[in-house]
């Protein structure tokens, strides 16, 4: 069975239809990239799947392991295995990164009927993962995302993804604001998570990220529809030719 199925998804904000019938199937082990110009609904897609308020689904459905995602609240979706790496992670003043991580891990563990994580076990786990991601030791003591550089924020997102072990990970413009070194570290973190039980939806404006996180499928989103789908070579073609010809086709 497919991990995530998006079927004929129509989404509006107010009176305006943003997504006009998206169909996409993500199987375990696959990485799908969604590319497209600004304002075509890339972020809407990720927000709707994750459960942000303010969007109206007028048609279609999204299934996670065959279960109706729209029947679940945002936190239930998260606990069921949907993870969104935010384009702009928010600051949470006064809440240390480590206590945030612990709360999130325990929310998931409780939902799965497990005991809360032991303090020592948690510390060991987090230390190992931060090291892999090239993060400074004291970062987890700092309030979440407060005063973090762009690179630090994105690393923190990948750290959370690593610890929460999602079924479906959505990366929303994770490459924005990253220099090449940070991009590499973040990509390595994502690649380390690739497995046959997990699928990725990588949303990006530029092909650059896909040099590091190599997709199995590339979809071009234009005006709320998937204009074309293809393999990883499609991304290179777009890099060279731009979106112009699809924008014309979709209009």
């Amino acid at each position: 069975m497919a991990l995530l199925e998006i079927k004929n998804l129509h989404v509006s904000v107010g009176d305006r239809e943003i997504l006009k019938g998206i169909t996409l199937t993500l199987n375990g082990g696959e990485v799908h990239a969604i590319m497209g110009p600004n304002g075509t609904g890339k972020s809407t897609l990720s927000n709707v799947i994750a459960g942000r308020e303010g969007y109206t689904v007028t048609q279609g459905e999204v299934l996670l392991d065959g279960k109706d995602v729209f029947a679940m609240a945002a936190d239930e979706r998260a606990r069921a295995g949907i993870f969104l790496a935010f384009q702009y992670p928010v600051e949470i003043p006064g809440v240390s990164t480590s206590s945030f991580l612990k709360t999130a891990i325990n929310a998931k563990r409780r939902a799965e009927g497990h005991k809360e994580i032991d303090a020592m076990e948690f510390l060991k786990l987090v230390k190992a993962k931060t090291k892999e991601l090239g993060m400074a030791d004291d970062m987890i003591k700092r309030p979440l995302n407060v005063g973090f550089s762009g690179g630090e924020k994105k690393r923190a997102e990948v750290l959370q993804m690593t610890l929460l072990e999602p079924r479906v990970a959505i990366l929303d413009e994770t490459d924005s604001g990253l220099d090449i070194d940070a991009l590499k570290v973040v990509s390595d973190g994502v690649n380390a998570l690739r497995s046959k039980d997990r699928a990725f939806l990588v949303i990006t404006h530029y092909q650059r990220l896909l040099d590091y996180i190599v997709p199995d499928h590339v979809h071009v989103l234009v005006n709320g529809r998937i204009a074309v789908s293809g393999g990883k070579e499609l991304a290179l073609e777009l890099e060279a030719e731009g979106y112009a010809k699809y924008q014309g086709a979709a209009a």
């Binding site: 459960g51 945002a74 929310a107 998931k108």
Partner: protein, 483 residues
């Protein structure tokens, strides 16, 4: 750690307001109303010496002169209090017992529900508890150990008999009977409270703690606490309150006096969780408290920390009079109001000595239809050369029907003074909530986490065993506040 876990487990049971239970113990009550006879009755019940009775009567007569001149400058609205419609004395029948075995098992059951681990003293892990049930202290633990070190920690009614010289010297020396309407009332009718004396040079090795509990219908609670830290001593004192659910409003007017002599330090922490009334604003405690510290000695220091989550009405300004040169006062406050709760709380820092320092960190959280006011005075006297104050007031709003207000008063009579005041008002953002929920947290967990972060600077000043409870209470107090 054991205590922390115990506390955490107990607090978990609270949810909403699970402290709404009533223990059925026959009480030994004075008739309703206030008169010289009632005051004589209270004094006689406590077998007080003549000088105590005289002090009470003096206060009572002064209170009569005040008429119904309750202070009205606070941003609080409540129906007029009928002082003749309340009881001023109630005591559990069996009082002042020598051992826990003699304590009414029902009372112990109540304590257990409250999470006061009296039954297992080893669980106290260094916390001596002077548990106040209604107005009379029933059991004091760890007393012996403290006695050996010269610490006096006992009900104030007992101190009147055993240490009259100390009580005479200090009682009313920080908050005189004529200080304000509620303090005057308290001076006339106070029933009991704690007395603490820390001898010269001693660093009190355990946190001293008192749990207050209101448990008699219509019984006003008039606690009186007096803490004296002699030269070079240190003490940390914890006060925590919970009360059973009631429909009537219950009046509470406590007075707390702290005295720090040369090089002494007092840390006073409160978690206040009295019944706040129901979601429609019915019932709840009226809490009019006068708390004041005198930093009399050179280099003395007082630190107030309060976490106010309960009560329908909170009127409370823990203050410091910085008399001694180089003395310092700190005030850390979290005030949470939800539903129809109203809080008007803050502090007064009165700088009199040279090089005195004060710091005020106030975090107000308002939800539902609640109103939350920070009211603070920083006064720098003519002789207070080089006085320094730093004030930070942050307000957090949840929803759009609540209010937050900041009313700072700064009076400076010395040109070398430096005062700073910073204030912010913010709302919990949808983005923050969504972010937390996307990580699997429920709406309630998310609010609790964000608000705890907002309050962190204050909560981290609490002793460990209180901090855990306070964090949980912050979340519980705001349950249902975000739709």
């Amino acid at each position: 750690m054991a205590v922390t876990r115990e506390t955490a487990a107990t607090v978990k049971e609270i949810e909403q307001y699970k402290y709404g239970f009533v223990t059925d113990i026959e009480s030994d009550k004075a008739p309703k109303g206030l008169s010289e006879d009632i005051i004589r009755f209270i004094s006689a019940k406590k077998n007080e010496p003549e000088w105590m009775l005289e002090g009470r009567l003096k206060a009572y007569r002064y209170w009569l002169e005040l008429g119904d001149q309750e202070p009205d400058w606070a941003k609080l609205h409540y129906p007029k209090i009928d002082y003749q419609d309340a009881y001023y004395y109630a005591a559990p029948k069996k009082a002042a017992l020598a051992s826990l075995d003699e304590v009414d098992p029902k009372l112990l059951e109540t304590y257990k529900k409250l999470g006061i681990p009296l039954l297992e003293q080893q669980m106290l892990a260094g916390v001596a508890v002077d548990a106040v049930f209604d107005s009379v202290s029933v059991a004091t633990t760890y007393k012996k150990k403290l006695e050996e070190m010269g610490v006096i920690f006992m009900p104030i009614s007992e101190a009147v008999h055993k240490h009259p010289e100390l009580v005479k010297k200090y009682l009313g020396s920080v908050v005189p009977y004529s200080d304000n309407f509620f303090a005057t009332l308290n001076a006339a009718v106070f029933t009991d409270g704690s007395f603490v004396y820390i001898p010269k040079g001693l660093r009190c090795p355990m946190e001293l703690s008192t749990y207050f509990r209101i448990n008699e219908k219509n019984t006003g609670q008039f606690e009186r606490t007096l803490i004296i830290a002699d030269e070079g001593s240190y003490v940390s004192y914890l006060e925590g309150c919970t009360a059973p659910q009631r429909d009537e409003n219950q009046l509470h007017a406590a007075v707390v006096e702290l005295i720090a002599l040369d090089d002494a330090e007092i840390k006073y922490s409160t978690v206040q969780n009295w019944y706040p009334g129901d979601a429609q604003g019915r019932g709840g405690i009226y809490n009019f408290v006068t708390k004041r510290a005198a930093c009399r000695g050179r280099n003395s220091k007082v630190m107030w920390t309060q976490v106010e989550t309960g009560s329908a009405i909170t009127w409370k300004y823990p203050s410091c009079i910085l008399q001694g040169d180089n003395s310092s006062g700190e005030f850390y406050s979290v005030a949470i109001t939800n539903n129809h709760q109203q809080a008007d709380t803050g502090t007064k820092m009165i700088h009199l000595g040279k090089n005195t320092k004060s710091k005020i960190i106030s975090k107000g959280i308002s939800a539902g239809h609640a109103d939350n006011t920070y009211r603070g005075l920083v006064r720098i006297g003519a002789k207070a050369d080089n006085a320094r104050n730093y004030t930070q007031c942050d307000s957090l709003l949840i929803g759009s029907t609540c209010g937050a207000h900041t009313v700072p008063y700064i009076e400076t009579k010395n040109p070398t003074a430096r005062t700073e005041h910073e204030a912010t008002t913010s709302k919990i953002s949808e983005d923050q909530l969504f972010y937390c929920r996307q990580r699997g947290m429920t709406q309630e967990e998310a609010v609790s986490l964000i608000v705890n972060g907002f309050c962190k600077e204050v909560l981290q000043t609490l002793p460990m065993e209180f901090a855990v409870e306070a964090q949980k209470l912050v979340g519980i107090s705001l349950e249902g506040s975000v739709g």
